[in-house]
């Protein structure tokens, strides 16, 4: 168990998975607005469409700590709110609702029906709901089906019956859907195969005659049982079912989709069948048959249609025509179905059509897409194929039909939603010389592959960039009347002048404003209702609305060094250390408080809090002094300018600001003092509103320059802009409300102020050199900004140039025609140029051909040009699979690019004609690669790594060490076999090589130079289907496996020492144990991540941060493992995790401990994501847990938040 581990790590998600399992549409808020819920990995994410901005926006993302396999929305009769049923690996049915007021999911029902885990006979794989929300059916792949009756009690609450069984042994389910039968007894349709006979027939006859059946299960609501009502044999290739509207809207029944056909079936209707049209084109195989992979049915008033997508991405519109009765009204009988080409979009796993005219496509690979319908393809010239021309019997022959794919005509793209899925590889490097490193990753498949650069930071949208005549020092904006919505003036302060610009249709200079132009300005403020104050070194200028000007002059020989204002109060600090305080009185004039406060120190900065609603003044004035302190002075009339509290600092304060922010512990917002220090540290501390005490201080280092603070707001939320070596934004994370600091990906502005105009209601105006810039921050939900560079094919591996900021990506795609083949087909066909327009492969995919490979090696520059600089297409059906850069002993410093390829590779069952190892030379500082030579090997290499001036290559079970020869690589040493099945990944340090096997975990090998031998000396006892490994230190390996586990293995110290002893290592060979090596590695940590880790790296992620383990998962997730330094912290988090498990059990009903211990008991890793859910708990639950931990809420929250802030983002 976990307590015995001597190493503890906290697992945190940096980026959640983006691979969609299912997407559903519904009115989850109980309003008329349709929203989306996407299930990806273990997360449910709610999106709402913004019909004005033509975008979908994330509202809530919740980690269920379970595998989400099926989702379905349903609505009880008479209700206007959709509930969600989750089919997961918990062996339970979970029904949840979205609570818009609290922005969270609430579980209504959780009923156990079976064992947990993804099992063959435990329901959870398929989920179908009656369209009227009266019942649902959960099914497993084999045998079991459960029906739950959903009802409502007298309080209009949802009730759920005990399950009714409809099991049928030895039956496989391929698809399931709820039939639309109006208000008759609910019926569920399933696509089934009974394998009972074929299992007992040795002649194979029964197997050949296996039939696929469409079966109707009827739930008799009166008798409360389920009967198998009707069955019909359908084509063996059938894979999907779609609901056809029934009742008053349509004929009811289902569409069965199979290989190249779609047929309509219903118990009281004839069968109708249409083919799936094939693509026409010179590069298309005219014999290739397509499948429907996804689709959506959409009802409109009195009509409906289906959009069905093939594996190529082509969308087809399928419509029904009914038999007309004598009164020219449609009868209930179907006359024909017709299909026609609609448009092409990337292959999706789920499509949603919204009533407001949008199409959401959750794409299988890469970014999700949000489209708007322009028309419904009703009156175009696309050829329509009807069921009249095709036999209804699936065995009857038919003539295939063709269509011409074309660009989009019916839908227009509105938004792409970033998704890194699938993520094949990931590396962290600092190539831009910034404070913090960037994450580089290769994502996507086929023509939608991308090379992505991820940077910690918020994206901005620049609105204005304009050059000013000279360098301003500061900028403000102000309104001229309290009730105005937008700012009227921009005031710029130069070294000895002030310039006022008016904001209107044009921004232009104005003079008659009353501002003193001949001096620089320290502060500008709208006072009272409609007067303005300008604070300059010699005094305060109070400009009344009528144009009347009142001046307050600073005493002789003294100047104003710091000032702070709010709309009722002004405080200035004089060079003598005096503080002068003013208030706006009832007549609207500025009145000085009779006493001045003498500070013993030079005052550096001041801040007044905002005036609370309904009060006349803010009661706190913060004063930053040269002696590294900040003092809070009271402004209450009885004790004006008296000391309230003081706080010592590590350095001189440079900037202060009192501002309230949304806060997780109080549930509302609390008042904070924000301090920017000379040393570049930002401090946020709570001001106790009753006593003025400073409590709960949080500090964060932002950069080497003094920190300047400015109040801004983003999306209505108060935020703090902190300017140092680069701009940062301090804000409350929208969901957890935790204090978050993110850099703003923008120029290094020196001064910033909030800006509001009609065009840009919530912007920031900033000064950068002699530029005036106005920008907005779009989204606080996402603090990783990404840039992508398109690649040609599915990336398989990448490597960075050892010196230059360049990456080399090897890419290959199976069953895709190579460029040469495509060109040959086009030129052979003899068509003129006009007819052979190549459609963009990002949407249409590449032309496919069985057994063909398209492959390329591309040079990517992610920093300067942000583009692919050079690419080499491989020929002769070779596929590039792995890549490495190495220098060879005998060739001095010259680096070579080594690429492992396979010829005629067959993925399943694994096979290839042979493999090659290509060697490329770098030219033009690595911007170009030139083929040097290639070496034939009997099987494709899967892993390569530089090893002591040579290259170690994993080929099948062997590890070979090659040196560079004149005409080919020369084998110098080998371990044959090194592992049990196939080398998937290699890691090395010194004389040690660690090989990860496809099925049998890792093997530690040592290279003995004396005998030129590679000797395995330690291996593992658990079969781990490794994907990738990395060495953490000389003894320890971190790795991931195909089942979604992350593990750390360590070689026993003694074995490690023994392996490195002088000699030829004979002793290691002799001491083999039980057909394995001499020693066993020990498990240090184990954690089920759910996503498949495909690359792991030990690296710091923040400026000056400690090393963490960053793992990148296939589904697009990025996670980190933060090692604990002190035992005390580990214990704290372990306790917190324990309490969280019982207080806030996972939404879908999976037991958290069992989930994280899916394959192997969790060890040495604490789930930080669960601990972070503490922040979103209701106050009472927080108090309970904090009480159990003997701490108070703020302390617990601070600990939870600080780990993330220190280690990552």
């Amino acid at each position: 168990m976990a307590t015995t581990s001597n190493l503890f790590m906290l697992s945190l998600t940096v980026q959640p998975p983006s691979s969609t399992t299912q997407v559903i549409l519904g009115q989850f808020s109980g309003t008329r607005e349709q929203q989306l819920i996407i299930g990806s990995g273990s997360r449910l994410t709610l999106y709402r469409p913004d019909t004005h901005e033509l975008k979908v926006k994330e509202v809530l993302s919740h980690d269920c700590f379970g595998i989400i396999r099926a989702l379905s929305a349903f609505r009880l009769a008479g209700s206007n709110k959709d509930f969600v049923i989750i089919g997961s690996d918990s062996g339970r049915i979970a029904i949840i609702e979205y609570v818009p007021a609290e922005n969270r999911f609430h579980r209504i029902h959780l009923e156990t029906f079976g064992k947990s885990g993804v099992r063959r006979v435990i329901p959870g794989q398929y989920l179908a709901v009656d369209p009227k929300g009266r019942a649902c059916m959960l099914a497993s792949i084999e045998k079991n089906k459960l029906v739950y009756v959903l009802n409502r009690n007298t309080q209009a609450e949802l009730t759920i019956s005990s399950p009714l069984e409809a099991h049928k042994p030895q039956t496989l389910v391929f698809a399931m859907v709820g039939l639309d039968v109006g208000y008759e007894n609910p019926i569920f349709a399933a696509l089934e195969v009974d394998y009972g006979d074929s299992d007992t027939d040795p002649t194979g006859e029964a197997f050949r005659n296996v039939e696929k059946q469409l079966v109707y299960y009827e739930l008799d609501l009166g008798l409360n049982h389920v009967v198998r009502k009707w069955a019909d044999t359908v084509c063996r290739t059938a894979n999907l079912l779609f609901q056809v509207p029934g009742g008053a809207d349509g004929p009811s029944g289902v569409l069965v989709c199979g290989e190249e056909h779609i047929s309509y079936h219903h118990s009281n209707q004839d069968v109708f069948r249409v083919p799936i049209p094939r693509r026409r084109g010179v590069t298309e195989d005219p014999e290739r048959k397509r499948y429907i992979t996804t689709g959506v049915m959409h009802r409109m008033r009195g009509a409906f249609f289906l959009l069905l997508q093939t594996e190529d991405g082509d969308l087809f519109k399928l419509t029904f025509e009914m038999v007309m009765g004598p009164d020219k009204k449609p009868t209930g009988r179907v006359a024909r179905i017709s299909i026609k080409y609609f448009d092409t979009i990337p292959v999706a796993v789920g499509l949603c059509v919204m009533k407001s005219g949008f199409l959401f496509a959750a794409c299988e690979n890469g970014n999700h897409l949000f489209y708007q319908f322009e028309k419904l393809g009703d009156e175009d010239e696309e050829e329509e194929f009807t069921s009249d021309d095709f036999p209804a019997d699936y065995r009857a022959p038919y003539k295939p039909v063709y269509f011409n794919p074309r660009g989009p005509e019916n839908i227009a793209l509105c938004q792409t939603i970033d998704a890194m899925n699938p993520q094949i590889g990931c590396q962290v490097a600092n190539l831009t010389d910034g404070d913090a490193p960037q994450i580089y990753s290769i994502c996507g498949t086929g023509a939608r592959s991308t090379f992505r650069t991820l940077k910690h930071g918020l994206d901005v949208l620049e609105i204005v960039e304009s050059v000013l005549p000279s360098m301003p020092q500061a900028v403000w904006t102000t309104k001229t009347h309290r009730d105005e919505q937008f700012d009227a003036y921009i005031i710029l302060s130069f070294a000895n002048a002030t310039l006022v610009l008016s904001i209107g249709e044009n921004v232009e200079e104005v003079t008659e404003t009353g501002f003193l132009a001949s001096t620089n300005t320290i502060a500008v403020q709208l006072l009272g209702e409609d007067s303005l104050a300008q604070v300059h070194p010699r005094g305060i200028r109070h400009i009344r609305a009528g144009g009347e000007i009142n001046e307050w002059h600073a005493p002789h020989h003294r100047t104003i060094v710091a000032a702070t204002t709010n709309d009722q109060q002004v405080a200035v600090a004089l060079s003598s250390g005096e503080i002068v305080y003013f208030e706006v009185d009832a007549t609207g004039s500025l009145a000085e408080y009779e006493e001045r406060r003498e500070m013993s120190q030079t005052v550096l900065c001041l801040s007044l809090g905002p005036v609370p609603e309904g009060r006349v003044r803010s009661s706190f004035l913060a004063v930053g002094c040269q002696d590294n302190t900040v003092r809070i002075l009271d402004l209450d009339p009885s004790r004006t300018l008296e000391n309230r509290s003081v706080q010592g600092l590590t350095s001189q304060p440079h900037s202060l600001s009192i501002m309230s922010m949304v806060d997780s512990s109080s549930g509302g917002s609390s008042l904070y003092l924000h301090i920017g220090l000379h040393s570049g540290v930002y401090i946020r501390t709570v001001i106790d509103e009753a006593t003025g005490d400073l409590i709960d201080t949080r500090t964060h280092f932002l950069g080497p320059h003094p920190v300047r603070l400015f109040r801004t707001s983003v999306k209505g939320q108060p935020t703090m802009l902190a300017l140092t070596s680069r701009p940062w934004l301090a804000y409350s994370e929208p969901q957890t409300k935790a204090l978050t600091l993110s850099p703003v990906n923008y120029h290094n502005i020196e001064w910033g102020w909030s800006f509001s105009s009609e065009v840009c209601p919530e912007g920031i105006v900033g000064i950068h050199g002699d530029y005036l810039r106005i920008f907005t921050i779009e989204d606080l939900n996402k603090n990783l900004s990404s840039e992508s560079i398109p690649l040609s094919y599915t990336p398989r591996g990448f490597v960075k140039h050892p010196e230059y900021p360049l990456f080399y990506v090897v890419e290959s795609d199976v069953n895709v025609l190579s460029v040469a083949t495509r060109q040959k087909l086009i030129s052979d066909s003899g068509v003129t140029n006009g007819d052979s327009t190549v459609l963009p492969p990002e949407n249409f995919g590449y032309p496919r051909g069985r057994g063909h490979w398209a492959s390329a090696i591309q040079v990517v520059d992610p920093v300067a040009q942000k583009a692919v600089l050079h690419s080499i297409e491989l020929e002769e059906n070779e596929a590039a699979l792995c890549v490495a850069v190495t220098a060879f002993h005998d060739y001095g410093d010259e680096q070579f690019l080594i690429v492992g390829t396979g010829k005629d590779v067959v993925p399943v069952p694994r096979g290839a004609t042979c493999g090659f190892i290509h060697v490329y030379r770098f030219e033009e500082d690595g911007r170009k690669i030139v083929f040097h030579h290639k070496t034939r090997v009997e099987s494709p290499p899967k892993a390569m790594i530089p090893f002591q001036g040579r290259i170690a290559v994993g080929i099948e079970r062997d590890i070979r060490i090659y040196d560079l020869g004149k005409r080919q690589l020369l084998r110098k040493a080998q371990a044959a076999p090194a592992v049990a099945h196939m080398v998937m990944s290699l890691a090395t340090q010194g004389n040690r090589i660690i090989a990860a096997d496809m099925k049998e975990s890792v093997t530690y090998l040592v290279y003995k130079p004396q005998s030129n031998r590679l000797i395995p000396f330690a291996d593992d006892v658990i079969p781990r289907w490794s994907t990738n490994i990395t060495m953490i230190d000389y003894e320890t390996t971190a790795g991931g496996d195909k089942f979604g586990n992350f593990w750390l293995l360590r070689c026993p110290e003694k074995a490690s020492e023994q392996a490195d002893e002088e000699g030829d290592g004979a002793i290691l060979v002799e001491r083999n144990y039980l057909h394995g090596t001499a020693h066993r590695v020990g498990l240090v940590a184990h954690f089920y991540t759910q996503d498949i880790p495909l690359s792991i790296q030990k690296t710091p992620l923040t400026a000056g941060g400690r090393d963490v383990l960053l793992w990148a998962g296939l589904q697009g997730s990025l996670g980190i493992m933060v090692p604990f330094v002190s035992r005390e912290d580990a214990n704290f988090f372990q306790d917190l995790e324990h309490h969280m498990r019982s207080t806030a059990p996972p939404l879908a009903g999976r037991d958290h401990l069992i989930y994280r211990s899916y394959y192997v008991p969790v060890k040495g890793v604490i789930d930080g994501d669960l601990c972070e859910q503490y922040l979103t708990l209701p106050r009472e639950a927080k108090e309970n847990i904090a009480g159990e931990l003997d701490r108070d809420i703020t302390e617990v929250e601070r600990k939870v938040q600080e780990v993330r802030m220190r280690a990552a983002f």
Binding site: R120, D199, P202, T203, L240, Y291, T293, V816, G1113
Partner: protein, 84 residues
């Protein structure tokens, strides 16, 4: 004797409920078929694993899913001849 009968009944109930529960006369074919069906169901049931394999095979997830399900009908070939 009653105990033995009871144990037998319990075993039968278990076998009916949990597909693949073995008995004294389980043949290698049954055993291997069962394991293969379990594996295939697991490939389909774990979204990440299905995606991993679909990318490896170069097909959309739906086609990979269909292939695995079809394979479940007879995962290891024809059953052996039985000697009556």
């Amino acid at each position: 004797m009653a105990d033995k009968l009871r144990a037998q009944q319990q075993l039968e109930a278990l076998q009916a409920r949990y597909v693949g529960t073995g008995h004294a006369d389980t043949t290698p074919f049954e055993w291997i078929s069962n394991i293969n069906r379990d594996s295939l169901a697991s490939y389909v049931g774990h979204p990440a694993m299905l995606e991993y394999m679909a990318i490896g095979m170069g097909v959309p997830r739906e086609k990979a899913r269909l292939q695995f399900l079809e394979k479940m009908i007879q995962p290891v070939g024809k059953p052996p001849e039985t000697q009556e």
